[in-house]
């Protein structure tokens, strides 16, 4: 999808003025946050497991090349094929080639952020394929031609009336008098329609939450079962995975799995965690005849070994998104691309450039809630700060901001000058406030006074008063 991250402020303004979105976003704090807290409370080892998980991923990243050697051997031994996509265009080309070689007409898809990242659907559709998203949330936004607004709950910004409207508009043969005014009816309608697609698909494409080097296995974690129908019924199963999905052993991935569902939705474990290894075996009555794994770089090797290395530990649970007060205010679309919230603020500039995505790491108070809940102990605020440093080095920040902070720092580095400047400022601001104790409008501080009064200095400065007291 074409990024609109550069328009974050405009996107945010629209989001803040959207009452339906604000109602929908109100569910996030009460739902996901409470559920995660409950799940954590039910597992005494939760926080210790986060340390172990961090160590597992750190070890894996430090040996990533060798784990891929082992992984590829295992996949090939099981009858599967591994493809390597350096860029988004490479991945699109590889997937289309596989579909064409198969003579595919209908493609079903499980939820894959990688597919969004490389804009796969449009590419396949342009080549004449019918592409059907099967995750219910993804299906709904596909009908509406919208991007996902959350990596776990892509349709979280919609209410059921909007879903009903989409089904009525796009489901051929749906009787007008059929009731679709509640969630069970809507889910039932989607189940019925998508069932036909599952059964008629030639190729099924899924993402991968993890790749396991020990056994050459790809893992998907779902609640709906759509990923499983996508990967079991068609002749061909294609797995899309970015390079950081690798984990060494079953025991390693198990530790991380103990954290994933609990962090994402507060479940002990999701309904379906599926380990796939190669195509069907001789004698298997079902399963795909061909199994392809497409590994994507698309800017991630450029993060390895840099100050953004820790971001490669992300397991896409969405906990940071669920806890972020900025996300609660504006929702996912405002971030303008595939990844939103704190993880989006760190990852997006790495993948599409800081010039396009500069607002994202700046729109943060560094409150630290994201890092507090991250199962992989990723220091998200620290990496947002690193993006700000990169921007500062490249003079990307607005001139007024740079100038203002530069003056502040220059004065603060000279204590005597600072004393005089602050004494003057205290007096000046108190004059403006005229005994009211606050100011309703301040030049150069329009951003502040637009929404709140500005408390005036109480008196002369502390250092002036202290000097008097000490010497008086």
């Amino acid at each position: 999808m074409k990024p609109t991250s550069h328009a974050f402020k405009q996107n945010a303004r629209e989001a803040l003025a959207d009452p339906q979105l604000r109602r929908a976003l109100g569910n996030v704090p009460t739902g996901f946050i409470q559920k995660r807290a409950n799940a954590r409370a039910r597992l005494p080892e939760f926080d210790d497991l986060r340390d172990v998980a961090r160590d597992i991923k750190n070890h894996t990243l430090a040996h990533l090349d060798l784990y891929y050697d082992a992984y590829e051997q295992r996949v090939t031994a099981a009858g599967g094929q591994v493809h390597w996509a350096e860029t988004a265009a490479d991945m699109r080309r590889i997937v289309l080639d596989i579909c064409r070689a198969e003579g595919a007409r209908v493609v079903t898809k499980g939820k894959s952020m990688i597919a969004e990242e490389v804009a796969l659907n449009e590419h396949l559709e342009a080549a004449g394929l019918e592409v059907v998203e099967t995750d219910l949330g993804e299906y709904i936004i596909q009908l509406r031609h919208e991007p996902p607004s959350h990596i776990i709950a892509p349709a979280i910004h919609l209410n059921k009336e909007q879903v009903e409207e989409s089904f009525r508009a796009r489901h051929a043969g749906l009787p007008e008098d059929r009731k679709l005014d509640d969630a069970p009816a809507l889910v039932g309608e989607a189940r019925q329609v998508l069932r036909q697609k599952f059964l008629s698909a030639d190729v099924g494409i899924t993402g991968a939450n993890f790749l396991v080097a020990e056994t050459g296995t790809s893992i998907i974690v779902t609640n709906e079962g759509n990923g499983d129908l996508t990967q079991t019924l068609p002749r061909v199963h294609i797995v899309l995975a970015s390079i950081e999905k690798m984990v060494p052993t079953l025991e390693d991935v198990t530790t991380i799995l103990r954290l994933l569902a609990r962090s994402a939705t507060g479940q002990e474990f999701s309904s379906y965690t599926t380990l796939s290894t190669g195509p069907r075996r001789a004698g298997d009555p079902d399963g795909p005849q061909a199994y392809h794994v497409v590994i994507l770089d698309n800017g991630r090797t450029a993060m390895l070994g840099t100050e953004f290395h820790d971001m490669l530990r992300c397991i896409r649970c969405g906990a940071c998104i669920n806890h972020c007060p900025i996300y609660h205010a504006v929702g996912g679309h405002a971030y303008g691309w595939v990844y939103s919230g704190p993880m989006g603020a760190v990852l997006t500039p790495a993948l599409i450039g800081i010039e396009e995505a500069g607002h994202l790491p700046n729109a943060s108070t560094f409150c630290g809630r994201c890092e507090e809940v991250c199962p992989m102990r990723i220091p998200l605020p620290k990496m947002m700060r690193h993006w700000r440093e990169r921007e500062f080095e490249r003079h990307l920040a607005p001139l007024s901001q740079r100038w203002g902070l530069g003056v502040w720092a220059a004065v603060a580095r000279r204590p005597a000058l600072y004393r005089a400047a602050t004494a003057f400022a205290a007096a000046a601001l108190r004059l403006v406030a005229r005994g009211r104790g606050r100011v309703s409008w301040l030049p150069l501080a329009g951003g502040w006074t637009r929404h709140r009064d500005f408390p005036a200095p109480q008196d002369r400065t502390f250092m002036q008063l202290w000097r008097e007291r000490s010497h008086g």
């Binding site: 890092e371 902070l405 602050t422 104790g437």
Partner: protein, 254 residues
């Protein structure tokens, strides 16, 4: 008999210095009541956090150098601010990761730096404050103090020993108020959304008074409360603990 008083260096913080000296004096009173001698190093200005969080590492390092030099002669460094204390404790060593000599000095200062209420409770073992004031208050947990320094129980414990003070827990006390330094002026509309959620929660407590440990957060919330015409008054927790609530609250005139 030798009387050994603990000498504490007060890191005033730039906001307290310019906007509300009474917080500094409240801190001094609390420290002196707990048996300390307080000095105020002359060469302090700003901890450098605005530069640091804006990506200006060079200026942040210079201000850190200056602060470290001013404070390293002291055994104890106390600031009435979780974000400033957090800057010294957690971030100064990181600023000099590539300069071993400076890093050692930064780590030494970091280890001796404390936020005020945490210093009183966790280091000095203060268990109560001898104040009486009739107030219905609620308490906001500033993000840095909470998440970088683990300050949560300490202010509540001391507040509970004040006669006449009723404390109602603030729903989502641990959610950011929307200040975030320059964030509130760079993204004012998002900041305002966070701020309105915060003031709604404050109103829902029925409290007359808002307390917190960071003046930046307090100015942000007090400014909003005043704009809304709310009767809620805001003080720094140090002022209430030190019994200094006779003077105007934040954003109030003389």
């Amino acid at each position: 008999m030798k009387t050994q008083k603990t000498t504490v260096a007060l890191f005033v913080t730039c906001l307290v210095d310019l906007f509300r000296p009474s917080v500094g004096f409240a801190a001094i009173r609390l420290l002196e009541d707990a048996g300390c001698r307080v000095e105020v190093p002359d060469a302090q200005t700003c901890c450098g956090q605005p530069a640091y969080n804006s990506g200006d590492r060079a200026d942040a390092r210079e201000l850190a150098r200056q602060t470290i030099a001013a404070f390293e002669p002291y055994d104890w460094i106390v600031a009435p601010s979780g974000s400033c204390a957090g800057m010294l404790r957690k971030h100064y060593p990181l600023l000099f990761a590539d300069d071993p000599a400076m890093r050692d000095r930064a780590e030494a200062v970091a280890a001796r730096t404390w936020e005020l209420v945490s210093f009183l409770v966790d280091v000095l073992g203060v268990e109560r404050v001898p104040q009486t004031v009739n107030l219905h208050a609620t308490y906001h947990d500033s993000c840095s103090g909470l998440r970088e320094l683990g300050i949560r129980e300490q202010p509540r414990r001391l507040l509970s020993t004040i006669n006449g003070l009723k404390l109602t827990e603030l729903a989502d006390a641990d959610v950011c108020c929307g200040f975030g330094g320059t964030f509130c002026v760079k993204y004012p509309d998002i900041s305002n959304d966070m701020l309105e959620k915060k003031t709604a929660a404050i109103a829902a407590t029925g409290a007359d008074v808002l307390l917190a440990g960071d003046l930046g957060c307090l100015m942000n919330m007090a400014g909003k409360l005043k704009r809304q015409g709310s009767p809620v008054r805001a003080w720094h927790v140090a002022e209430v603990l030190a019994g200094m609530t006779d003077d105007p609250a934040i954003g109030e005139g003389t």
